[in-house]
């Protein structure tokens, strides 16, 4: 037993611990709004006791560690859900852009098809009327223009997405380099047994940011953590990062490369996967449908126009420039082959007043031009597909968002700083500090009594 000095030292340890604990509280309060911050807690432990004969005396209190409260499993779930949600969000955004081209029943390709066939009907009571013939050609021209416009819009959207693939890869590389450098610092601090908690928070937020771009798997290793894509392409290993690159393929789309390996189609999460899915699946699919419709419709109308005679009594020619064989590029390339309204082949026998071939042209309206479907059936199926893809993705995205928010709530309940809690801690440590200080002053009084023993009075 060490007497009054022992008590003084115990009181001092209490003062120091309370101060440190208050510091932790202050740090928590300061970081209450810092994204990715995990609240910290000072872990108080009794100091090693001393034995004096049969008695054991405590020697005060120490702070054994300052721990960060975080749930590693929850962080992994958050990463995964962020990847999922971010992909769906990107897809939804792009699909909504696609569907604006198919949004109106009173304009666009569908309405143009209707207007064209209706113009043919209007011409039939008066087949020599040049104004009505011109109306047919104008309607056909509008139809061709809208096909061109829709195809061009889709192509432009595709090339914008291509651009965004390159940009995303740039961001991914910046993030993986940052993560590698944070990894290095963490392992340095841990080697010298220092607290790397705030760096781990930083690492966690960087991985979360990376998750919104690309699918990331976190693998704990001896040298910190390794990151790979879900298909195993390396991104970060300890203090080293592996940059992804892009490579322009022959079809003009940017491929994502890990070293010399093309990993474009193996990406499953993050906005990058969404961008690639829209660029490589949705847009080409939609363009293909427009191409088929444009090719089927223009071929059928050309055939019908060939079957009749124009206003001058000559056999009819092509109404539209013949679509390319196989139809690829038909929608962006479709245009009128004739500009002279007299060349419309309305007549069956070469007499100007005959309207028989208009019925043949009009019959294309009800003729299977693509896969046995009439032009409008095919078009309205396309509208349905565009709409239901967007609507399903929207439902998926809002479900994913709900789950993500729940996980964030859970993370908040584990790692979030509660000001009430910190205030309570502050009161607690303040009181502890005050009590320890009182012990110090009491011991001080006792010590001065001891110093003045035998002097017959108190020390002045």
């Amino acid at each position: 037993m060490s007497g009054l000095y022992g008590s003084l030292s115990i009181a001092l340890s209490a003062l120091a611990s309370s101060q440190q604990a208050l510091e932790t509280t202050a740090n928590n309060v300061a970081n209450a709004n810092t994204p990715g911050y995990s609240r910290q807690r000072s872990v108080l432990e009794p100091a090693l006791p001393v034995n004096y004969g049969p008695l054991t005396f405590g020697t005060g209190v120490v702070i054994s560690k300052i721990e960060s409260l975080r749930d590693p499993i929850l962080e992994i779930q958050l990463n995964q859900q962020t990847q999922h949600q971010s992909r769906l969000d990107t897809e939804l955004q792009q699909l909504q852009q696609i569907q604006t081209g198919f949004g109106s029943a009173s304009s666009g390709i569908g309405a143009d098809i209707t207007k064209f066939f209706n113009a043919l009907q209007q011409l039939s009571p008066d087949p020599t009327n040049l104004a009505l013939r011109q109306a047919v050609l104008t309607a056909a021209g509008n139809l061709a223009t809208d096909f061109n416009l829709s195809a061009t819009n889709l192509q432009t959207q595709g090339s914008n997405l291509n651009q965004s693939v390159t940009e995303s890869i740039g961001e991914v590389n910046t993030l993986t380099a940052e993560i590698a450098s944070v990894n290095q610092q963490i392992s340095y601090l841990e080697n010298v047994h220092q607290n790397a908690s705030s760096l781990v928070d930083q690492q966690t937020s960087l991985i979360r940011k990376l998750s919104s771009l690309i699918d990331v798997q976190v693998i704990p290793t001896d040298q910190g953590i390794s990151l790979t894509t879900s298909s195993g392409a390396p991104l970060v290993s300890g203090g080293q990062s592996f940059a992804l690159s892009t490579d322009l393929a022959s079809n003009g789309s940017e491929r994502v490369m890990s070293g010399s390996q093309d990993i474009t189609n193996t990406l499953t999460g993050g906005s990058l996967a969404g961008t690639i899915h829209i660029r490589d699946v949705q847009i080409p699919g939609m363009l293909g449908q427009l191409d088929q419709l444009a090719a089927g419709l223009s071929t059928a109308l050309n055939t019908a126009n060939h079957a009749g005679y124009d206003l001058s009594g000559n056999l009819g020619g092509n109404l539209f420039v013949a679509p390319p064989v196989g139809g690829v590029g038909a929608a962006s390339g479709i245009r009128l082959a004739i500009t002279d309204p007299t060349l419309l082949a309305a007549s069956t026998d070469g007499t100007p007043g005959s309207n028989g071939n208009l019925a043949t042209l009009s019959a294309v309206h009800d003729q299977g031009v693509v896969n046995g479907q009439t032009p409008l059936e095919y078009y309205s199926n396309t509208v349905f597909q565009v709409g239901s893809t967007a609507s399903n993705t929207s439902a998926d995205a809002s479900a994913a968002d709900q789950i993500l928010r729940q996980l964030q709530d859970q993370r908040g309940s584990v790692s979030g700083v509660s000001l009430d809690e910190e205030a309570a801690n502050m009161v607690q440590f303040q009181t502890a500090y005050q009590a320890a200080a009182r012990v110090v002053s009491t011991v001080n009084a006792l010590l001065s009594d001891a110093v003045n023993l035998g002097l017959g009075g108190t020390m002045q």
Binding site: Q99, G110, Q121, S354, G356, F384, V417, D420
Partner: protein, 295 residues
């Protein structure tokens, strides 16, 4: 369990949701449509394309009906005048057949008959909106030219093709009768009968025979006129049908994509109330914590 001390993200997401709902309801009310992009209701959006097609065609058929009806009434009234002229010709023929007439009187009658002949030729050359309606599909040239060398006194320049026009889905009607069928049919040729009568009156031979063949030709022509009467009846009943169909299509379109105003208004006001409640919650949040009480 410890609660999430910062539910702000949740509250903001909630606010976003309610504002989105309010915005959708507002767009629906202002556009009058519940389907403003295909994803709002993919099936309805696809059906609307078809509905739009039917509606537009319906409108087109109605316009066609107006056009062909004009042509029908022009043809019908021309034929009506022809019948009147032919009756006058028959009356004149009967007068010419009377034996007491002098040559000069007959010449006068023959002259009037010649006048009627040119009148009938001109009626057979009636045009509607620039097209000759009794020339078959050879609408560019006069169907009948006077030609004294021909026994009928005319040459037919037209053909015998009949045009059809759609006035409904799968419903076509013939819109013209060629002159070769009405005026110069081989068995009942109005022009031949008329020309024969003129010659008969001039020469005072076989006038009775000529009168009887003219009246039979006139009867045949009247019978042909029934075609236009029928056609105009068809036009009238099809117009009624298409106008009904137009209403039905509009109703269908409204039930597909139209907005139900009371529902939309209710959605809007409840979304607005939600928004206000969420805003109030956000403003109350973090107004106080334990620190405020430690003074």
């Amino acid at each position: 369990m410890r609660v999430n001390p910062y539910p702000m993200q949740d509250l903001l997401a909630e606010l976003n949701q309610t504002q989105l709902a309010a915005q959708k309801a507002m767009i629906a009310i202002s556009t009058g449509r519940s389907v403003n992009s295909p994803s709002d209701n993919p099936a309805a959006a696809a059906l609307e394309v078809q509905n739009n097609d039917l509606t537009s065609f319906n409108e087109g058929y109605l316009q066609n009906l107006t056009t062909v009806n004009g042509q029908f009434s022009a043809a019908d009234s021309a034929l009506g005048s022809v019948v009147t002229s032919l009756q006058r010709a028959i009356t004149l023929g009967v007068q010419g057949a009377t034996s007491i007439l002098s040559d000069s009187n007959r010449a006068a009658i023959a002259q009037e008959l010649t006048g009627i002949q040119s009148q009938v030729i001109s009626l057979a050359n009636t045009s509607y909106q620039g097209n000759y309606i009794f020339g078959g599909t050879a609408t560019g040239a006069l169907p009948y030219d006077a030609n004294n060398a021909d026994p009928s006194g005319v040459t037919y320049n037209g053909n015998d093709v009949v045009n059809q026009v759609a006035i409904g889905s799968g419903y076509q009607i013939e819109v013209n009768q060629p002159g070769s069928k009405i005026f110069s049919a081989s068995s009942n040729n109005v022009f031949l009968a008329l020309n024969n009568l003129i010659v008969a009156v001039q020469t005072n031979t076989n006038v009775d025979t000529a009168i009887s063949s003219l009246s039979s030709a006139a009867g045949y022509l009247s019978a042909q006129r029934v075609f236009y009467g029928n056609a105009m009846n068809q036009v009238a009943s099809q117009t009624t049908y298409l106008n009904t169909a137009k209403l039905q299509l509009a109703q269908q379109q409204n039930s597909l994509v139209g907005v139900d105003l009371p529902t939309a208004a209710t959605t809007l006001s409840s979304a607005q109330a939600d928004t206000q409640a969420t805003l109030a919650a956000i403003s109350k949040f973090s107004q106080m914590n334990l620190f405020d009480y430690l003074r």
